[in-house]
């Protein structure tokens, strides 16, 4: 039964991916992409990677989908130009052969990986009691490979600033993103009032349980961001202008706390990002809390885009 389910899933994922590539029209393509993300989340559950499934559902399908969708609405390219940029059939055949070779090479390589598979699973689990957390993935993200996570948190700040800096000069200091009319009644207004309180609880829950169960800052932060975006598109929440210091501190708070705790390690433990015995879990939770806030702020700002209307 599980095998049948897996084969079905695999075929569906490939089918939806192909359809997303080939369909005419950008709007259906984005719907296809969201469906693709949803199916991938199911695949991740089948692979037993619930943490990743959560991230894929929230970030891969949800946030990326909305990002793409907003872009579709604002982009309507000229037909002639598209034709001019379309590769000729021979070029396409060449590309297809090349990509086929890459895919085939990958498949061969995957099928020839050594058996038994080398794995760090035992090693990663062995040190968990030292950290006081129950979820090995949190152990990897926050301790063993903490530097990766720190750099990735900084990448989000990079992205926000880079997106802002694409704005025209005269718009600097303005409010990010387009303006949505206030919805005082109707279904959107209802949803934007009812859903965020629930979403915020769920988001914090997902971020909080991350230490011991699947979840964590990126997943929880994305849900919080989605609720913010919902309130924003319903006109119920005005985004602060990019000149707002509070907004900027919200974006950098997570990475700064991360670095601060890391540097504290020089004083109270064995060096950067090392946690003293017994204090690992509270410190990790502190970082996660600050990071959840910053991830949420960064994602809202990335979806909103560069500043475009006067404060």
């Amino acid at each position: 039964m599980s095998l049948v389910l897996d084969v079905m899933l695999a075929l569906a994922v490939i089918g939806v991916a192909g359809w997303t590539l080939l369909v005419r029209g950008n709007f259906p393509a984005v719907i296809g992409f969201v469906a693709y993300g949803l199916l991938l989340a199911l695949v991740w559950v089948r692979l037993g990677a619930v943490d990743v499934a959560l991230t894929e559902a929230a970030l891969g399908a949800g946030a990326t989908g909305v990002l793409l969708l907003f872009a579709v609405v604002r982009l309507r390219g000229g037909k002639a130009e598209i034709d001019a940029a379309t590769p000729s059939p021979p070029q396409r055949v060449a590309a297809a052969i090349l990509c086929g070779v890459v895919g085939l090479g990958l498949a061969v390589a995957m099928l020839n990986l050594p058996d038994p598979a080398p794995s760090l699973a035992a090693e990663a689990t062995r040190h968990l009691p030292l950290l006081g957390v129950g979820n090995p993935i949190t152990g990897v993200l926050m301790a063993y490979r903490g530097l990766d996570t720190l750099l990735e948190a900084v990448v989000l700040v990079f992205a926000v600033l880079a997106i802002w800096s694409m704005a025209p000069d005269r718009r600097w200091g303005a409010i990010p993103g387009p303006l949505f009319p206030v919805q005082s009644s109707g279904p959107l207004s209802l949803l934007a009032r009812v859903l965020p309180p629930i979403g915020i609880v769920v988001g914090i829950h997902i971020a909080w349980v991350g230490a011991d169960a699947p979840g964590g800052k990126f997943q929880g932060g994305t849900i919080l961001a989605a609720m913010g975006i919902l309130a924003w598109v319903a006109g119920l929440w005005r985004l602060p202008p990019v000149a707002s210091r509070g907004l900027r501190w919200a974006v950098v708070a997570g990475p700064l706390v991360f670095i601060g705790v890391g540097l504290l390690g020089f004083v109270i433990a064995d060096g950067f990002l090392s946690y003293p015995p017994g204090f690992a879990k509270p410190l990790i939770l502190l970082i996660e809390a600050a990071m959840t806030l910053s991830v949420a702020a960064a994602i809202v700002l990335m979806v909103a885009g560069p500043p475009e209307r006067p404060a």
Binding site: L5, F27, R76
Partner: protein, 87 residues
């Protein structure tokens, strides 16, 4: 019991996939959005059944996230479709 739950999950998933056919055909944006919605609620149902069948921790949370963001995505779709219509 677990096998039966998996079977149910598979059936629902198959149904949702068949619904996706509507998204392939269209004709209107509305039909595509409906198909996506069906895939989302089908996915949630399949996840809940999977969670019960495998006992894997946190799978219900994935369903919860899908439910939350599914609502959110539907709204975004309609807003976007509206924006396309107006221009």
């Amino acid at each position: 019991m677990a096998e039966a739950l998996l079977l149910a999950a598979g059936l629902i998933f198959l149904a949702a996939l068949a619904g996706l056919y509507r998204a392939l055909r269209g004709p209107g944006a509305a039909d595509r959005m409906m198909a996506a919605q069906l895939l989302c609620s089908g996915g949630i149902a399949a996840l809940l059944l999977l969670a019960a069948a495998t006992g894997l921790a946190g799978v219900v949370d994935v369903a919860l996230v899908l439910a939350l963001l599914g609502a959110f995505a539907s709204v975004a779709f309609v807003l976007a479709a509206r924006g396309l219509g107006q221009r």
